[in-house]
């Protein structure tokens, strides 16, 4: 009796297991795309939802693979590429597209690009990243300005402050905020946030030409010059204005501190505004946006693009094309960027629909380009390869979080570190 019962149990369990594994295997259905991305903060998730909705409305399926940051995303992507089963669509920073093109891993989007006239309508700065060897391999979702100063308008009004335009003014404003019991600068001790602050200091101290030389051209002399040491010295001053509990803080938590008035300012990209929008705050009423001190003429950009990995399964290709088209659609671009807080990656979108800060960002991009002061940001992998950006961010982050480190030591580490990367 008992034996029979056991046998029955074993068989039932077996049947159940076989059945449930079969069920998971059948997920690979036609017209479904696995989409790996790192847009998980509230505003980002809302923005990517715009693309997802437009895509699924066309009858396709979207399998969401969210990663908690670019680091996690890269890890998932690498292990899946190694295993020979990359996700169908992957969001990455535009400058990372090249390394995958070099591996021959990406789908050529040229037919879609020709049909959509991408050469004409895409923001000029993006094309070198996405059009490689004459073909398009990535479709941009957005262009973002990383050098923004966000401030709590109500706190500034109450204390009679204006957004600082020079570093001296910045110190004066920060000191007044501190005296009033407000944390002057909200930041999270995560390397790319610190690097974003750093690059604005670099522009302010060294000027746009120095940025071009040291960062864009990666000139070693410039990187180890006295000016670079001065940049680190000035960056050290920023330690005074942050609260002690900043290590590890997420950027949107730091943005929240500015929204509530716990902190006065934050230096970070367009996407901060996405969080403001999500919280229903109004520009020039609740918060204000201005270029960081010394950054008025300079536009540092970051952009993200979807790329599509080649698949053994031919039926995926049509869905990949459809996602590329959807992503670059004018309405989707606008809808996405209203939620994201950034600006569309195409030049033919009606900017009247954008809010005050996004319009300013849109205009700054054009102006800076005409002055030759539109540069790729280094904080978001835009200027350097991931390996070199990693070295840069390690040094900047360690320097900021380790008050005993000297500017000289930081510069030395940066220069020797970059030499170990062979590309």
């Amino acid at each position: 009796m008992t034996k029979n019962w056991q046998g029955y149990m074993v068989r039932a369990l077996l049947a159940a297991t076989v059945f449930s594994y079969a069920a998971t295997a059948s997920v690979a259905e036609e017209k479904k795309l696995e989409v790996l991305h790192f847009f998980t903060a509230g505003s980002e998730a809302a923005a990517i939802g715009v693309i997802k909705d437009a895509f699924t409305a066309k009858g396709y399926g979207w399998v969401d693979l969210p990663a908690t940051g670019t680091d996690t995303l890269n890890q998932v992507l690498r292990s899946r590429v190694t295993a020979g089963s990359p996700p169908n669509a992957v969001l990455m920073h535009s400058n990372e597209v090249k390394q995958w093109v070099d591996q021959g891993a990406l789908v050529d989007l040229s037919p879609i690009a020709t049909k959509g006239n991408w050469d004409e309508v895409m923001s000029k700065g993006l094309i070198p990243h996405l059009k490689l060897n004459g073909s398009y391999y990535g479709v941009p979702t957005t262009v973002e300005r990383t050098n923004w100063l966000w401030y709590n308008k109500k706190v500034f009004d109450k204390l009679g402050l204006q957004p600082p335009t020079t570093l001296d003014e910045f110190h004066a404003v920060a000191d007044k905020l501190k005296a009033a019991g407000v944390i002057p600068l909200a930041i999270g001790g995560v390397n790319w946030q610190e690097a974003t602050l750093f690059e604005t200091v670099l522009v302010a101290v060294g000027g746009p030409d120095f940025y071009r030389k040291a960062i864009v051209e990666q000139n070693e002399e410039a990187l180890k010059s006295e000016t670079m040491i001065k940049v680190f010295d000035e960056f050290r001053n920023m330690n005074k204005y942050v609260d002690p509990n900043y290590p590890g803080r997420d950027w949107n938590i730091a943005a929240k501190m500015v929204m509530t008035g716990e902190a006065g300012m934050q230096v970070l990209g367009d996407y901060v505004k996405g969080e403001m929008v999500l919280a229903n705050l109004k520009p020039n009423v609740d918060y204000g946006c201005a270029p960081p001190p010394g950054n008025a003429q300079t536009y540092l950009s970051v952009s993200t693009a979807f790329v599509f990995f080649k698949s053994k399964d031919a039926s995926v290709e049509a869905a990949q094309d459809a996602l590329a088209e959807t992503t670059f659609d004018s309405t989707v671009q606008l809808g996405f960027n209203l939620k994201k807080g950034a600006t569309p990656a195409r030049t033919d979108v009606d900017s009247a629909a954008l809010d005050f800060c996004a319009q300013a960002s849109y205009k700054a991009q054009v102006d800076a380009a005409s002055h030759g002061q539109a540069f790729p940001a280094i904080s978001h992998f835009e200027a350097w390869s991931p390996a070199k950006s990693g070295i840069f961010m390690d040094v900047v982050s360690t320097f900021f979080e380790q008050p005993s480190m000297t500017s000289k030591a930081a510069v030395d580490q940066l220069v020797t570190g970059l030499k170990t990367i062979s590309e």
Binding site: T17, L36, T40, G42, G49, V63, P66, T82
Partner: protein, 294 residues
């Protein structure tokens, strides 16, 4: 097998010593329980209560809402289905992985001790090595192999990996147990003409039940708790619960919901905790029987 009570005294001195010992034990117990207590307390509070109170305040208005959110509605990326789908993955991973790796270890252990052959010690050492290998060293080649077997990014792939790297442990447990089983028992059966599998099933396995328990508990907790392999070889909704938990905690939308996070922490820990509460005694007994002594 006896307690010692070495710290003896007489009369008053004895009583004072006992009080000191018990206080020390209780004090340590409080320290050990404290983190779990904080997790549970936090998970029962509303966000508002967390904002004004401290982590050790008792919840004024206990709510199970964070638990519900953690299990079914909390957002991980753009999908807001809580930990539930990840929980299902973990169960589907851990059950077959444990059921496969334990018998393999039992057969290996038996073969290494009662059906000896020249060089059996070398084979044991050869297999045992897997216990000490840092898994980071195998991550990349393993990804290749899993890809070519077609099990990358799937629960089936994780089962395979956990079985493969569990063999060293289960073999160790069973080998160390069977070494203590007198040869006479097996030899007598051999005389009767019973062969390997028969002896194994009818005679050896029944006396090895405590070791089976140790092996099952060990494998269950290790596989359930694994994060490194899970995060490397799965993504999105194929991930087990440890990865789901990490992703939930690491991605914030607006406000950090510490109460939901702590509820998720507790829910993730619950299965292994229950195993310890109900089977921990057998685990200890198995340890004493020499299972983990190298």
């Amino acid at each position: 097998m006896s307690t010692h009570e070495v710290v003896l005294g007489t009369g008053l001195a004895h009583r004072v010593t006992r009080v000191v010992i018990y206080s020390a034990l209780l004090f340590m117990a409080v320290i050990y329980v404290f983190p779990l207590l904080v997790v549970v307390l936090t998970s029962l509070k509303s966000l508002e209560e967390l904002r004004v109170g401290t982590i050790i305040d008792l919840p004024a208005a206990p709510t199970m809402q964070p638990w519900y959110q953690a299990m079914f509605t909390a957002c991980i990326g753009t999908s807001c289905n809580g930990l539930a789908p990840y929980f299902v993955n973990s169960v589907m991973m851990v059950v077959p992985a444990v059921l496969l790796s334990t018998p393999i270890g039992a057969v290996n252990g038996f073969a290494l001790t009662h059906f000896k052959f020249p060089g059996h010690n070398w084979v044991f050492a050869f297999l045992l090595f897997g216990v000490f290998i840092p898994l980071q060293i195998v991550l990349i080649p393993l990804a290749y192999v899993m890809g070519s077997l077609g099990v990358a990014n799937s629960v089936v792939g994780l089962i395979l990996v956990h079985v493969i790297y569990g063999i060293a442990f289960t073999t160790l447990f069973f080998r160390n147990f069977f070494v203590t089983v007198p040869h006479e028992i097996v030899d007598a059966a051999r005389m009767d003409g019973a062969r390997f599998l028969q002896i194994f099933r009818r005679i050896v396995l029944p006396i090895a039940i405590p070791t089976v328990v140790v092996s099952v508990i060990w494998q269950f907790t290790h596989i359930w708790n694994d994060y490194l392999l899970a995060t490397t070889y799965t993504s999105g909704l194929t991930s087990p619960v440890t990865v789901g938990l990490y992703n939930m905690v690491a991605s914030t939308t607006g406000t950090k919901e510490y109460n939901v996070n702590m509820a998720a922490v507790f829910l993730t820990a619950l299965p292994t905790l229950l195993v310890y509460v109900f089977a921990g005694r057998y685990f200890l007994r198995g340890l004493v029987a020499g299972s983990v002594k190298g």
